[in-house]
Symmetry: C2
Subunit: 77 residues, 2 copies
């Protein structure tokens, strides 16, 4: 399986979703990016279509927004 990217910002909703996604698809299949700590990745996330976190970008490039923790604007601060 190719790697998906899980974007989050450390919020409680994000942490809960991260736990579930790791259970479902396995940590080995995930790159996990904390946009609050690594703001240089925000533009990349936005360009992929990420509008809020937590979000999972699949190997085929589709964005799955999972529940709602924070908007990208809130993450940018």
């Amino acid at each position: 399986m190719s790697t998906s990217i899980f974007y989050h910002a450390g919020c409680p909703v994000c942490v809960s979703a991260e736990h579930e996604i790791i259970e479902l698809i396995g940590a080995d299949n995930l790159e996990i990016i904390h946009l609050g700590e690594d703001k240089s990745r925000i533009v990349e996330a936005e360009n992929t279509g990420v509008k809020s976190v937590p979000a999972l970008v699949t190997p085929s490039g589709h964005v799955l927004h999972i529940n709602f923790g924070a908007s990208i604007a809130e993450v940018r601060g």
Copy 2:
């Protein structure tokens, strides 16, 4: 891996998400419920915490609302 339940209502957002989820976790690990065609499952979904479709209920019982297709009220019609 235990089975997750994917609730949807046939909407375009649902179909797209279903495709991605099958790619990620495998059809064998999924029970797929079309709430528009099987309205008897709506109450079960609501009781689990599903507020909109598409949604994935994980083996541990957590609800992941994925993107947004329709509210449960809209599905009920």
